[in-house]
Every structure is written in structure tokens, then in C-alpha cells.
Amino acid sequence: MTALVELHNVGLVRSGKRILDRVDLTVGEREIVTLIGPNGAGKSSLVKVALGLDRADQGKVRRRSDLRIGYLPQRFHLDSALPMSVRRLMTLTVETTEDKLLAALDEWGVGRLIDASIHVLSGGEMQRVMLARAMLRAPNLLVLDEPTQNLDINGAVECYQIIQRIRDRTGCGVLLVSHDLNIVMAATTRVYCLNGHVCCSGHPDAVSRDPEFLRLFGPSGASTLALYAHHHDHDHAPDGHVVNDHHDHDHKHDHVHDHKHGPH
């Protein structure tokens, strides 16, 4: 089966600044790929390249021809000059039935808001509506840029559970961006840690038995979340340049490391 999206050796330069450097990334059907990295690491830029909104300066981007994308942008703000109801927002680029519309909103617990003006929604409500909107197009690739922002910890856990449920039901691939460097979805197939380039990538370790985790998130949350242990083979100078560790000459300069598969 060909990958939904495949990036090979992608580089991106904007205003003389190198934003992405030799990035490889693949999202296949049923896969949940989590992209993490500090602020300014180029996560959203990478997502835009993968979506085809931005053209890479180097490398190759392959998108499967039957790609149907459900996208949640990192920022969504509608100028109050444009009146719009939730219903209208949901159906901007898609024709659908009332049943499907309500089902999508209900899955995210915001069915009651269907006729509300989007200008009166809270941040969390808006986020749920936008998530429901991304699912409504029956996408085979979900691209979610920080889906848990504006949600509290319980909301975030629930959000991950719904994403996993939708993946299980529809078999779509998921590309998920998170600003949390250590805690990711337990169902994640691969984590990519990005800082301009891919620092490391691999499988997250599920931590549902870790007592510390149980205490923080409860049993349901702990089985939804996983820890990602970073295995970097290099350090970053204050300006972001990669500095190789000269005390460790044995270290392979291979950016991809295998991780032990944790229980999940």
C-alpha cells in the first residue's frame, strides 16, 4: 500500500532563514504520526508542505492522488465582520446531510451548538467544532495541528480517544502536531521530533502502568497517553545549530533510533 503522504529530504527556506532541513516523513493508512518539537521548530511549516500549501525548496513530496484531507489549522480566527453559524462553517466546502452534520458535531459533544454563531463560542467549543469539521469530509488523511490546544487535560485525553476511534472506524491516516515534547497519544505509530531537521523518531512507550502517570491522568488518561523518550545523538548550540558531541565518537550519526516497544 502506498503511503498517503511521503516527504523525502525536504528543505524549506523562508526570508533567508532555513526552516526545514532534510526532513523525511511518511504517513500511511491507519497510521497515527505525531510531530513534536519546540516552538519555532518548523512543525506547522512541515504540515503546510505536506498539505501542498507551501512548496518545498528541496526534496520530494508525494501525495497519493485520491487524498481527501481533513485539516485542523493551528490558528483559526474569523473576523467578526463576517457573520457565520456553526452549520455554515461546517459545510463551507462540503455538501452533507443533516444527519451526518449532527453526528460529526455530536461525536465531539457540540451538537447543541449547530445553529450558534461561531463568534460567541468559547475557545474549547470552537476547537471541538473545528475538529468535527475536519472529520465531516470523511477524509483518508487527517492533519491536526495542535488539536488539544484550548482543551483542558480531560478534554485533551478525550480528544485523543475520539481521534483513535475515528482512525479505527475509518482507517484514515493521522498526522498530528503537538507542542508537548514528552507526552503523546499512546496509539501513535511513529513520533518525529523536529527542530528544523528530524532530531529523532520512533515509537512511543505507553506508560499506562507508570504510577506517576496514573496519578496525573487517571486510568483512562494514562492508557490514552504515552511517553516519548528522546534519543538525540547531538546537541544544539544556542543559535540552533547542531553540535556533535565530541566526547562520544562511537555514537552513530544516524538520526533514526529504534525504540523498545512498550506495553499497550
Binding site: 500549501l53 485539516y71 465582520a81 453559524s85 463551507l92 466546502t93
Partner: protein
């Protein structure tokens, strides 16, 4: 009612019909300055029309399309901020237009008429132009309405969902160029963007959706045209400023009216 007043009213309502839906997009897309620049460039088009011996409307359309294309092209560069660029082009176009018209000794040009509009001098041919243009522009706008709304809400989102942004941007720019050319006679180049923006701003408080807002804008625009025309004749005012002043009163009244000021939260 005298014939010339009737013609003025019919022409003015045609422009309100045209300016309403387009004006909504100008406001939603925050393109007020863009509209200003195109309409100021219209004066240059008038001069070009005379120089080439074609109708001023044709000259204006061609000039506006050229300036619009220039602006779209410049939007992707980052050496000059877009609003600065718009400001430069807007006033440069106005100045060069005035200079060019100043050179036209052989043709007598009613400069005041082009700057502030001369609704009472509207001919049957003008009306044919306005309604023909309005039908064409509104038909095209209806065709691109849904994708244009999606792009206005969030460009990246719409593009990720398969909408070709550039094509619709170019079409929309062409529609504004045609509208500017048609509205010039009624309100004058200095005030065209006011006609695009003020009725739209007044309509916002009464509208729950984009389509309703466009319709309300048309109605409020027609009220402004009617009232402006009436006082323009009554007190011998220049027609463009009278219509824009009336639109401003409509806007102030909309602020004072309570309707739509509270949007109840659904629960």
C-alpha cells in the same frame, strides 16, 4: 418625476445592487484599501480612454485590471509592506490621473464629475452599461460565491480542502475592477470604496449569515442612494458625497438600533 431623476434613481439602485455583495467581500477580506487603490486608478483610466479614443468605461476597466494584476503580483514580495504599497499606488494613480487629464486641452473633461460623481447626468446608455455589468458581475460572483466564502474564512483551510485560491482571487479582482468602472459615474472615483464599505458595515448588525448580509447591504445601499439623490437635488449637492453622507447616516442609525446587538448564546 422628471426623466433625469428617474434615470438617476434607476442607475443608483443598479450600483447599490452591484456594490452590496462585492462590498461584503471587500470588508470580510479586509480589502478596503485595495478598493481605494483600484478606484483612484480609475481616473488614470479616464485619461487613457480619452487618449485612445475609447469610452472612459473601457479605459477605466482596463486600467483597473492592470493595477489589480500589479497588486496581486506584488503581494507575494516582501520588500515593501502591502499596505504601504497600496498607499503608494493609490495616490500615485490619482496624481498621475489628474496630471494626465490636465494635459487634455482638446477634450473638455468634467473633472468634478469624475471625482465626485454626476448622477443627474446619467444617460440611458449608462443605465444599460450598469445593468448589463451588474448582471454579468453578479452571475460570476454567484458562481464563485461558495469557494470565495471558504477562502475568506481561512485560506489555508480552503486550499487544503481543494480550493484553488489564486484563480478565485484573480476573478474577484476583475469583478471589483468592473464595479469601479461602472460606479464611477454615480459616486466618483474618490468615493467608490465608501459605497462598497459603508452599507456593508451598516448591514453587519442585522445579519446572521453571509448571504443575508449581502442582501441587507443591497437594501441599505438603495436607501442611501435614494436619500442621497433626494438631497442632492433638493440642495444642489454633488451626488457622490450626498450618497455617501446618506450611507453614513444609515450606518450611524444601525449602530443606534438595538437589533442584532446581542447574539444570545445557544445552550
Amino acid at each position: 418625476m422628471d426623466d433625469f431623476i428617474l434615470r438617476a434613481l434607476v442607475a443608483g439602485c443598479g450600483i447599490a445592487l452591484l456594490a452590496g455583495p462585492l462590498g461584503c467581500f471587500v470588508v470580510w477580506r479586509r480589502m478596503a484599501y485595495f478598493g481605494d487603490t483600484l478606484s483612484h486608478a480609475a481616473l488614470l483610466g479616464v485619461a487613457a480612454g480619452f487618449a485612445l479614443g475609447v469610452s472612459p468605461i473601457i479605459g477605466v476597466m482596463i486600467t483597473c485590471i492592470a493595477v489589480g494584476a500589479l497588486l496581486l503580483g506584488f503581494q507575494s514580495q516582501s520588500r515593501v509592506p502591502t499596505d504601504t504599497l497600496l498607499g503608494i499606488l493609490s495616490h500615485a494613480a490619482l496624481s498621475f490621473g489628474l496630471i494626465a487629464i490636465g494635459f487634455m486641452d482638446t477634450v473638455r473633461v468634467d473633472l468634478m464629475g469624475y471625482l465626485f460623481g454626476d448622477i443627474l447626468a446619467v444617460t440611458a446608455t449608462d443605465i444599460a452599461w450598469i445593468y448589463g455589468g451588474a448582471v454579468g458581475v453578479l452571475a460570476v460572483l454567484a458562481m464563485i460565491w461558495r469557494p470565495l466564502i471558504a477562502l475568506t474564512v481561512h485560506a489555508d483551510l480552503a486550499m487544503a480542502e481543494g480550493i484553488a485560491a489564486n484563480r478565485f482571487k484573480v476573478i474577484f479582482m476583475l469583478l471589483i475592477a468592473v464595479t469601479v468602472a461602472l460606479a464611477m459615474k454615480i459616486v466618483g472615483v474618490l468615493l467608490i470604496s465608501a459605497l462598497l464599505i459603508i452599507p456593508t458595515a451598516a448591514a453587519r448588525r442585522f445579519a446572521k449569515g453571509p448571504e443575508a448580509m449581502a442582501l441587507i447591504t443591497v437594501v441599505l445601499g438603495m436607501i442611501a442612494v435614494g436619500a442621497g439623490l433626494f438631497y442632492s437635488i433638493q440642495w444642489d449637492l454633488p451626488s457622490g458625497p450626498a450618497i455617501v453622507a446618506a450611507a453614513t447616516f444609515v450606518f450611524v442609525l444601525s449602530l443606534l438600533s438595538g437589533a442584532g446587538s446581542t447574539q444570545p448564546r445557544q445552550s
